[in-house]
């Protein structure tokens, strides 16, 4: 499944200073191709993140102060971690941290 992932507000600094990424998520085993935000976050951390994972994630979710939008809508309206990603979704991470 293909997605567009964007980082801004300083979050891009953790991802090689690249703001927009086109990513292809692999099918998971057992023919299960469903990806949720809960699965996407660690995948991004392990595959796209260049440094300082603790500045991106805290526990199993994003670090406080990082906003997440899916197709411009606040992920809090979409069930956050449980949101099921659709092909060609655009996921945006915006850091609101002063120092990040």
């Amino acid at each position: 499944m293909q997605l567009t992932v964007e980082f801004s507000g300083g979050a891009e600094l953790l991802f090689g200073n690249v703001k927009q990424h086109r990513v292809t998520l692999p099918d998971r085993g057992d023919g299960d191709s469903v990806w949720t935000m809960e699965g996407l976050l660690p995948w991004l951390r392990d595959n796209l993140l260049k440094e300082r994972p603790e500045l991106f994630m805290q526990g199993d979710t994003v670090r406080p102060g990082i906003l997440v939008l899916v197709n411009d809508a606040d992920w809090e309206l979409l069930g956050q971690l449980s949101y099921k990603l659709q092909p060609d979704d655009t996921v945006v991470f915006i850091s609101t941290l002063h120092g990040g």
Binding site: G10, P64, G65, D74, L77, L97, H98, G99, G100
Partner: protein, 520 residues
């Protein structure tokens, strides 16, 4: 009833409602609708019960900014205003709101003539992309001014700010199509009115000297916290001085509610409790009638600001500073931010509660003198038996040892109520001016500060104040910053000038004390 309780109840009710709405939103099969227009799909969840579509959010956001600004009731129609512009998200959003508002042609036009003032902090923040900030500032079609941080180190009368662009006139008349006949385009008008005054440029060679001095001061500052606070103090002093030089009375800062909540708490942790109110107030009056500093984003959270930037495509450079990418342990400010945002994630009312509490705080007791560094009321003259005096006293005793310590009864009785102790200098150097005021002994034999007063010693030209003299003129929070410093040789002259003036005044007062009639 007390407004706090009512507010909290309303908050609670709103939160319950929000939970309900959220649950509804998640269970519905169709898209959630905006709570405001009930026609467009919602894209934003703000605070507690605000579920908005993009357009309603942008309208509500703009309205909040306008009403906050209007609340001050201090604006004069069509007066020039400077936006402190760092290129960061909040100041970029503020620049957008102000410049868009001012260029509206209908009755809703924001009656200000905006300009942007950027601070070049590259002397101490090498990561700052000055060129990019300048480029972004240029996109707002308003006059842009630049001040270098090092300029603040110079004499307080010296020019600090210069004009960066002035090519807006043709551009703006072209775009506006000349529809307006009675009113000149705001940007063109302000361009004319201030450009002549801004023509004086700070001298380059002098700036290089000051830059070196600033860098030494910076490296003398011991901790991340001290640097963070020092930068904040110097920046606000520079902004104020630049506005005064340009003859502009209004200075707009882009402090968000989140930012203010964090700085309120880190301020408390940093010993600035007495200034909590001034630090979160809409209008900052520390510079008197000549300068009004406003914070029109103070009722908007950093989340709202970031979302506005996202939905309105406001370009900005991500925040860089001495603490960029730094761990939470780098400074009290960073640690507090981490703490507040962490709480906010689980308790969405955290930031607004902290912020609203801050606006209700005020210092008890009259503070007559201002701090020489931050210009907020001096909170260090609380009675002789205060906790602060106890801290000072024990520090004095333990740092000076038995032979050099002598408690000075005389100065403890002074009207200011300072309990002051005197450290005797080792052997000679006792009073070149020959008076027996404790001050002369305190400053290690140097004379009382010059300026043509009675004592007539040779050392009349601006002697640098000692660390002790300096500390005495600083508020508790600023004392902590200076105490952390390895040396105080590079303290900016606006501070040392002030210290010298006050010290001189106090010495004079002491000399004539016996002839004064005190009102008790």
């Amino acid at each position: 009833m007390c407004s706090i309780e009512e507010g909290d109840l309303a908050d609670l009710r709103a939160r319950e409602e929000a939970q309900h709405l959220k649950a509804q939103a998640l269970s519905d099969t169709g898209p959630t609708l905006c709570q405001k227009c009930r026609s467009a799909p919602a894209v934003l969840l703000l605070r507690v019960n605000d579920i908005y579509c993009r357009d309603c959010f942008v309208a509500a956001f703009t309205h909040k900014f306008r009403s906050t600004l209007g609340k001050s009731r201090l604006l004069r129609p069509d007066e020039p205003a400077l936006v402190a512009f760092s290129g960061g998200v909040a100041s970029s959003v503020l620049a957008r709101l102000v410049s868009d508002g001012a260029s509206q042609t209908d009755s809703k036009r924001l009656r200000l003539r905006p300009g942007l003032l950027m601070v070049d902090e590259s002397a101490v923040v090498p990561e700052q992309d000055v060129k990019e900030v300048e480029r972004l500032a240029g996109t707002y079609r308003v006059p842009v001014y630049r001040a270098k941080l090092e300029a603040v180190m110079g004499d307080s009368g010296a020019p600090v700010v210069e004009r960066v662009n002035c090519k807006l006139k043709e551009e703006s008349t072209g775009d506006d199509g000349g529809t307006e006949s009675s009113q000149a385009p705001p940007e063109a008008a302000s361009c004319d009115s201030v450009s002549s005054e801004a023509a004086v440029l700070p001298d380059e060679a002098r700036l290089a000297e000051l830059r070196a001095q600033l860098q030494q001061l910076w490296s003398a500052a011991g901790s991340g916290t001290a640097r963070e606070q020092l930068l904040e103090r110097l920046r606000s002093e520079l902004l104020a001085r630049a506005a005064l030089q340009l003859g502009i009375r209004l200075l707009l800062l882009a402090d968000t509610e989140t930012r203010l909540a964090v700085s309120l708490l880190s301020g408390l942790a940093g010993g600035r409790g007495a200034h909590a109110h001034q630090q979160t107030a809409l209008a900052d009056r520390r510079h008197g009638e000549r300068l009004l500093v406003l914070r029109p984003l103070r009722e908007l959270s950093s989340k709202q600001v970031a979302l506005f930037a996202h939905h309105c495509r406001v370009q900005y450079v991500p925040g860089v500073g001495p603490d960029t990418m730094a761990p939470a342990s780098a400074s009290i400010g960073r640690a507090t931010e981490e703490f507040v945002l962490g709480l906010q994630a689980s308790f969405p009312a955290t930031v607004s509660t902290v912020y609203r509490t801050g606006t209700k705080l005020s210092a008890v007791g009259a503070m007559t003198e201002d701090c020489a560094l931050c210009r907020l009321p001096l909170d260090t003259s609380g009675g002789a038996a205060s906790a602060l005096q106890a801290t000072r006293f024990s520090q004095m005793v333990s740092s000076s040892g038995p032979d050099r310590f002598q408690y000075d009864q005389h100065s403890a009785d002074t009207a200011a109520g300072h309990s002051r102790a005197t450290v005797l200098p080792p052997a000679a150097g006792n009073g070149s001016c020959g008076t027996d005021t404790p001050r002369c002994v305190e400053s290690g034999g140097a004379c009382c500060g010059g300026g043509g007063e009675r004592c007539g010693s040779a050392q009349t030209v601006s002697r640098k104040p000692s660390r002790e003299e300096l500390l005495e003129r600083l508020c508790y929070g600023c004392q902590l910053v200076v105490k952390d410093m390895k040396e105080v040789d590079n303290i900016p002259s606006f501070v040392t000038e002030e210290v010298a003036v006050r010290t001189r005044r106090e010495n004079m007062r002491k000399e004539i004390q016996d002839f004064l009639i005190e009102d008790s």
